[in-house]
Amino acid sequence: MIQIEDVTKVYRMGKVEVRALESVDLTIDDGEFVAIMGPSGSGKTTLMNIVGCLDVPTSGRYLLDGTDVSRLSDNRLAKIRSRKIGFVFQSFNLVARTSAIRNVELPLVYAGVRIRRHAARVALEQVGLGDRLKHMPNELSGGQQQRVAIARALINDPVLLLADEPTGNLDTAASAEILKILGALNDAGRTVVIITHEEEVARFAKRIVRMRDGRIVSDQAQRIRTEVSA
């Protein structure tokens, strides 16, 4: 489903060229649960930006769900993000002063869906926040905010759920809860890609891709998936 072929990404910071990705090849199939690991500066965030269609590669090809998205315009990328990708960020990134349910509705707004209330309510109920619909982000705990973000990421039924350090700002209990939800989603057939530098988090995935200096250094399937005890 995700096919990255010989992708290179070069940033120009003033006069200095930064090669964030160096001819990366990566294929992720439907229903996989992949953790992308690496120290900071390893290129994992750049890779996520490209996988998430937030950025385009300098060279190489990226096929998402059969479509080449590596040369698309800003607007086409926005439409791909709207239809195919759900994001979960480290800092939750809920829209401030906007209730949980309206946050969850937002992707539907941009996808042009007119009747949204019900779908948003169902999505929030699925992440266990059926009683927090009208709460503002600042009235929710970190774990609750991240669950709203997950509900929002799932509302458009994306082919790929992309989580960037989803537990980075959470305590152990909340982290476990979020990981449990992600695991359950994967069990239900959703493709999940998670970016992390925490081994415990990565151990939870079915496959771990390790990066260093813009290259993939190892790519291994895990036979035993750690169950989270929460």
Binding site: L54, D55, N93, P107, Y110, G112, R114
Partner: protein, 408 residues
């Protein structure tokens, strides 16, 4: 992104920064309100002046020039034959009536008091042509003019001075002018100075008993068939009189022609320019208001950079972001414009109701709101929203999602 959602987001943004939004709107409110108020003021003055002058607008006054034209022929007087020529329908179709008058200062003796009045000898049409009314008795009629009747009609100030407040008290009283006795048959309503100091009597009567002067007259009031015919009638007067007085060069004219209409046109033109000018000055505050909107929208975009990033990550297109911010600035400026219209119209209506209570002079300045100024100033406020919001909105729309998300 649908409109309802965009409006809700915009309202939320404005509510979140109430004071800031209100202050920004104030710029637009002041601008729109002052444009409406100033135009209403100019329009009010124009309307009330025109209302007063309109009934007189088809009048043309002809008077003999004073003094000799150097090197020219000796000036000819205006005489009855000139009046007859102007009245000749075969010579001019645009002249409806010609009222001759001869006037001068004279002492008027009542029972106990003496008044220095402006005595006018004229015809029975004079009252109507001057748009005046009687407060007691009647004006002299055609028969009294033909019979050189010894009757006078007093202006209100004359009647008041000689016989007291009640105009009816003057009726039937004898007055003496130039050692001749005349009977008061009517008193005119007040029109303000200097018209109230007039004593009117039939033209032949004045000539025979007071000023003499044969067939000379010193003023003609020419009534054009309607206000629009004034320029044509004016040309006819000049043409006919120039012919009769054998004047080839307009510089040698021995008479002067003035029409209220042309003076009214000049007045209106000056007032219109003045109104436009003051409105333009007021519009400067709209420019300042526009800069306020621009400024606040730039701040808003910067503050919400991260939010823009989030929205883009979850599928907002450039257009959706552009629309969101454009609608926000349109709402800001439009709401300001709407309140400005209400304030401007409110102040104008208040002024129109309060001004007359300060006296007739202030009544002239009672503002009267014009619909075009309301529509135009509201449209300008919307345009401000569009233009001042356009640049910040475009900046927001062009933000790259990864950079916007990284913004703290």
């Amino acid at each position: 992104m649908n409109l309802g959602e965009a409006l809700r987001v915009a309202l939320r943004g404005l509510r979140a920064n109430r004071l800031r939004s209100a202050l920004t709107m104030l710029g637009i409110i002041i601008g729109v309100a002052s444009v409406i108020l100033l135009v209403a003021l100019g329009n009010g003055v124009q309307t009330s002046v025109n209302e007063k002058i309109q009934p007189l607008a088809n009048l043309i006054t002809v008077v003999p020039s004073v003094g000799n034209v150097p090197g020219g022929a000796p000036p000819k007087d205006l005489i009855d034959a000139d009046v007859a020529a102007l009245q000749d329908k075969t010579l001019s179709r645009d002249i409806a009536a010609v009222i001759p008058a001869t006037s001068g200062k004279a002492l008027v003796d009542g029972d106990a008091y003496r008044y220095r009045a402006n005595v006018v000898g004229t015809t029975e049409q004079w009252l109507e042509v001057n748009n005046q009314d009687m407060s007691a008795g009647a004006f002299f009629d055609e028969a009294q003019v033909r019979s050189t009747a010894r009757v006078v009609v007093l202006g209100s100030a004359v009647a008041n001075y000689l016989y007291g407040d009640d105009p009816a008290a003057a009726l039937g009283k004898p007055v003496r002018i130039n050692r001749q006795t005349f009977r008061v048959i009517g008193v005119m309503q007040s029109v303000g100075e200097p018209g109230d100091g007039v004593v009117a009597m039939p033209l032949p009567t004045v000539r025979r008993y007071i000023f003499g002067g044969g067939d000379k007259i010193n003023q003609m009031i020419v009534q054009a068939s309607d206000a629009n015919a004034v320029p044509a009638a004016e040309n006819d007067v000049i043409r006919i009189l120039s012919e009769r007085h054998r004047i080839k060069d307009s510089a040698n004219r021995d008479f002067e022609v003035q029409s209220l209409r042309s003076r009214l046109d000049t007045f209106n033109q000056i007032l219109r320019i003045l109104t436009l000018f003051t409105a333009a000055v007021a519009a400067i505050s709209l420019v300042v208001g526009a800069i306020g909107v621009l400024n606040i929208m730039l701040v808003s975009v910067t503050e919400r950079t991260r939010e823009i990033g989030i929205r883009k990550a979850i599928g907002a297109t450039r257009r959706a972001i552009l629309e969101q911010f454009l609608i926000e600035s349109l709402l800001l400026a439009g709401l300001g414009g709407l309140i400005g219209v209400l304030v401007g119209v409110g102040l104008s209506v208040l002024g129109a109701n309060v001004a007359p209570s300060f006296g007739p002079t202030f009544a002239t300045f009672a503002p009267s709101v014009t619909i075009p100024s309301v529509i135009l100033s509201f449209a300008i406020s919307l345009a401000i929203g569009l233009v001042a919001g356009g640049y910040p909105a475009n900046r927001a729309a062009r933000l790259r999602p990864i950079e916007a998300l990284r913004y703290q």
